[in-house]
């Protein structure tokens, strides 16, 4: 069977890359006010996976204050820029809310780190992190965002921020918005004919026997 027939076999025609590059409509909206648990996609899943996801969606871990802090932090880490939206545009806080329930090893470090951050801010600015001014927030984050430069007493914050940065980046770049931003162009049935010729030339592989 040739490739065209194989695409037809699974109900696809050649996917246009513009479909991928178009930002997802739903993710451009702000965080919805009413939280309805998402439906669990059951196809190809074992019963225990479906049950577990339902339980996780129903569980509540982070408080409203923690979620607010996470949201501010996520948007500091990955802000909106000329190319794409912010972490909260890509629903990263919702992802973080879920993933700490899915991978409980994240729970205490996140909760403790968020609280550590609030105590730092209370000490410096007499306000919790979310209540500080933007310049104050940036000043605080700067103390913990650079592992090699941070003061020794900031190390707990560095560990927390590394984790928060990783979770934000993972949540962002696996979202529709983030995938378009980073330029992943795969997951699109077609033919692999090797590295495009202009790229080969750019890297000096033009004359090599491929």
């Amino acid at each position: 069977m040739n490739r065209r027939e194989s695409l037809k076999a699974i109900g696809l025609t050649t996917l246009s890359t513009t479909l991928l590059l178009k930002g997802g409509d739903s993710e451009a909206q702000s965080v919805p006010k009413k939280h309805t648990p998402p439906a669990v996609d059951e196809a190809g899943r074992q019963p225990f996976e479906v049950e577990r996801d339902k339980k996780l969606f129903a569980e509540k871990y982070f408080t409203a204050h923690e979620m607010a802090t996470i949201t501010v932090l996520a948007d500091i880490i990955i802000p909106r820029d000329a190319k794409s939206g912010s972490a909260s545009d890509a629903k990263v806080p919702d992802f973080i809310e879920f993933i700490v329930k899915d991978i409980p090893d994240h729970k205490t470090p996140m909760r403790g780190g968020l609280r550590w951050l609030d105590i730092q801010c209370l000490t410096r600015y007499e306000k919790k992190f979310v209540e500080c001014s933007h310049p104050q927030q940036i000043e605080m984050v700067t103390e913990i965002a650079y592992p090699k430069k941070a003061k020794p007493e900031m190390r707990q914050g560095v560990a927390f921020f590394n984790r928060m940065r990783d979770l934000t980046a993972t949540g962002f770049f696996t979202s529709k918005i983030g995938i378009a931003d980073i330029g992943y162009m795969g997951n699109s049935p077609g033919k692999w004919d090797g590295v495009p010729h202009d790229v080969l030339k750019q890297h000096g592989f033009d004359n090599d026997k491929i």
């Binding site: 190809g44 990955i78 802000p79 992802f95 590394n162 990783d166 997951n187 049935p189 495009p196």
Partner: protein, 580 residues
């Protein structure tokens, strides 16, 4: 009140097969197509990649974005089961660490495997003649070659003819072209004196002549999710499901085999199993019993099948069952290529198997360890998934920013967001997969104190790496560093030293465990003859990797398929002669 009476349907099958993976699947395929009445028992549920694969899902279609919480190799990976099975423990002794991966599903581990399809070479079958350290197989490459050829044609494999000493060529479809990182790897490896050739994988880069059920690959790079269009090899799609269509194969899923039953003369009479759906005990009668439950599970089944004729377990008068267990060696290293930063974007998924690889290229006479390893390479602009962007603070301080100035590692904001873009597709990794020496002292046995939730006694493992494997891992690390250096790559993984056995993975971790029911000419030193027929029990055969005397630095699957086909044809021939 549950009725525990054992249910014995009146039918006697020609053959009962335990396991639906590469070995069991091939046996079912050959025997059903020959017109025999075959029953196959599979411990897991039915799985058809066409319906059940999670292929072509984006990471945001999983709430955990592909993380390996429920499935060890990622949320879309086609493995039901994993390193630990609920209610099915195993134990270890003498400070052994043995990790045992089981896929409980139709097709077993062939649904998620890497499709790397390598023939064992002449030296692998006759290792004793090479360096005296291992036993020879009772068969040679020439005995197996006709079956490798038939498997290649039947299932489809890509690669190139290279005429290498111990890497026999197959009958190949064209290989996929290299990715950009692979071009750098080939250049750097060649400078380092390491051979790099096109990969060899069981993916249909072209349509398979005469096969209307399977389609040519469309290069999504997700073979590990199993393929909805049957573009790659899984025993489920390529063997069992077609065999069912003959009308001669019946598959009972969620059936956990308890023991092989035997008759007054010590011959196998069938399988007792528990139906996981209704938790009732069943028995199936058959004239021939074929075990393909995977190396350790088949050994476990034999050891649990004691009788007066077989006091040490079925087919175990030699005492060899469970012994000579061995898994491939494995160690790795990773980093990134600065020249691959800021890459031009295009679809680089390719196939979900190796585009290039390095077959073993050195002469052991000049080295301090026996045998060898092949190298698998990673990298490319792959689908982002949970964790794939982690640890940027270990990267973005190592190279100048866009302004040419060095950056303080870590950070946040627009500059950080840009850093993720810059590094996408620049990462490169390499892993060695090598020959471990089969030793009598590495084994699995029955733990007399522990049963699983079905009341079946479990396995206990005893396994230690030796210098032969540790020094091989050391050589891997040195080779990888050399290749990375010649490429101008920056290593970012921790370079493993003697304190971690040079990164040598724990036994079982590579999931190539073989050797627990060895074949051989001498019934005192082997459990099976060269046809994988039990010395002690003429109507019992083993078709997974348990019969392997000694693996090579080639994963087991292609050899399992060839040997299972060979054994199945022998069964047909023996039946014609009324010998079984």
């Amino acid at each position: 009140m549950i009725d525990f009476h054992i249910k014995k349907p009146p039918v006697t099958y020609d053959v009962v097969i335990v396991g639906s993976g590469a070995g069991g699947g091939m046996a079912g395929y050959v025997l059903a197509n020959a017109g025999l009445r075959v029953l196959m028992l599979e411990a897991g549920p039915f799985f058809d990649p066409a319906k059940d694969s999670l292929q072509l899902k984006f990471p945001y279609e999983s709430p955990r974005r592909g993380a390996g919480t429920n499935r060890a190799f990622g949320d879309f990976d086609a493995a039901y089961g994993g390193w630990e099975l609920d209610g099915e423990p195993y134990t270890t002794k003498d400070r052994t660490q043995f990790d045992w991966f089981r896929s409980r599903m139709l097709g077993g581990r062939t649904n998620h495997w890497g499709r790397i399809s390598l023939r064992m070479g002449p030296k692998d079958f006759k290792g004793h003649d090479v360096d005296g350290l291992t036993d020879n197989w009772p068969i040679s490459y020439e005995d197996v070659k006709p079956f490798y050829d038939k498997v290649d044609r039947m299932i489809g494999i890509y690669g190139t003819v290279e005429n290498l000493d111990n890497e026999p060529d197959g009958i190949y479809l064209p290989p996929p072209k290299p990715r950009l990182n692979e071009l750098f790897i080939k250049k750097g490896a060649t400078k380092a004196g390491v051979t790099v050739i096109p990969g060899r994988g069981s993916v249909l880069t072209e349509a398979l002549p005469g096969n209307k059920d399977r389609y040519a690959c469309f290069y999504c790079g997700q073979c590990n999710r199993s393929c909805k269009i049957y573009g790659d090899f899984s025993a489920s799609s390529c063997l069992v499901i077609p065999a069912i269509k003959t009308g001669n194969l019946k598959v009972i899923t969620n059936a956990m085999a308890r023991e092989v039953t035997t008759g007054a003369n010590g011959e196998a009479t069938g399988i007792s199993y528990v139906n996981k759906n209704d938790l009732q005990e069943y028995h199936v009668s058959a004239k021939v019993v074929v075990l393909g439950a995977s190396a350790c599970e088949s050994a476990r089944l034999l050891l649990n099948s004691k009788s007066s004729q077989h006091p040490g377990g079925l087919a175990n008068s030699s005492g060899i069952v469970g012994k000579y267990l061995h898994d491939s060696t494995g160690a790795g290293l990773s980093g990134f290529l600065p020249q691959l930063m800021d890459r031009k974007r295009y679809n680089e998924d390719g196939v979900g198997s190796v585009h290039i690889y390095s077959p073993w290229w050195l002469d052991n006479k000049k080295l301090d360890f026996p045998r060898g390893y092949h190298i698998e390479y990673g990298g490319g602009m792959h689908m982002p998934s949970y964790g794939s962007t982690s640890g940027i603070q270990n990267l973005n301080g190592l190279v100048p920013g866009r302004d040419g100035k060095m950056k303080e590692p870590g950070g946040f904001g627009a500059g950080l967001k840009d850093d993720y873009r810059r590094f996408f597709g620049s990462q490169v990794g390499m892993s060695g997969r090598g020959t471990a020496i089969a030793r009598e002292d590495n084994y699995c046995e029955i733990d007399d104190n522990v049963v699983d939730k079905y009341g079946i006694p479990v396995l206990r493992f005893h396994y230690k790496w030796t210098d032969a494997e540790i020094k091989q891992a050391k050589h891997m690390q040195e080779t990888f560093q050399s290749i990375m250096h010649e490429m101008g790559a920056i290593i970012t993984s921790r370079i493993q030293g003697p304190e971690t056995n040079y990164g040598l993975e724990a036994p079982g971790r590579i999931i190539h465990e073989v050797g627990t029911i060895r074949m051989g000419d001498d019934p005192k030193k082997s459990a099976l003859n060269k046809w994988c027929q039990a010395h002690d029990c003429k109507n019992l055969f083993v078709v997974d990797a348990a019969p392997f005397v000694q693996q090579g630095d080639k994963n087991a699957t292609w050899t399992i398929l060839a040997l299972s086909m060979r054994t199945s044809e022998y069964i047909l021939e023996q039946r014609k002669k009324l010998n079984i």
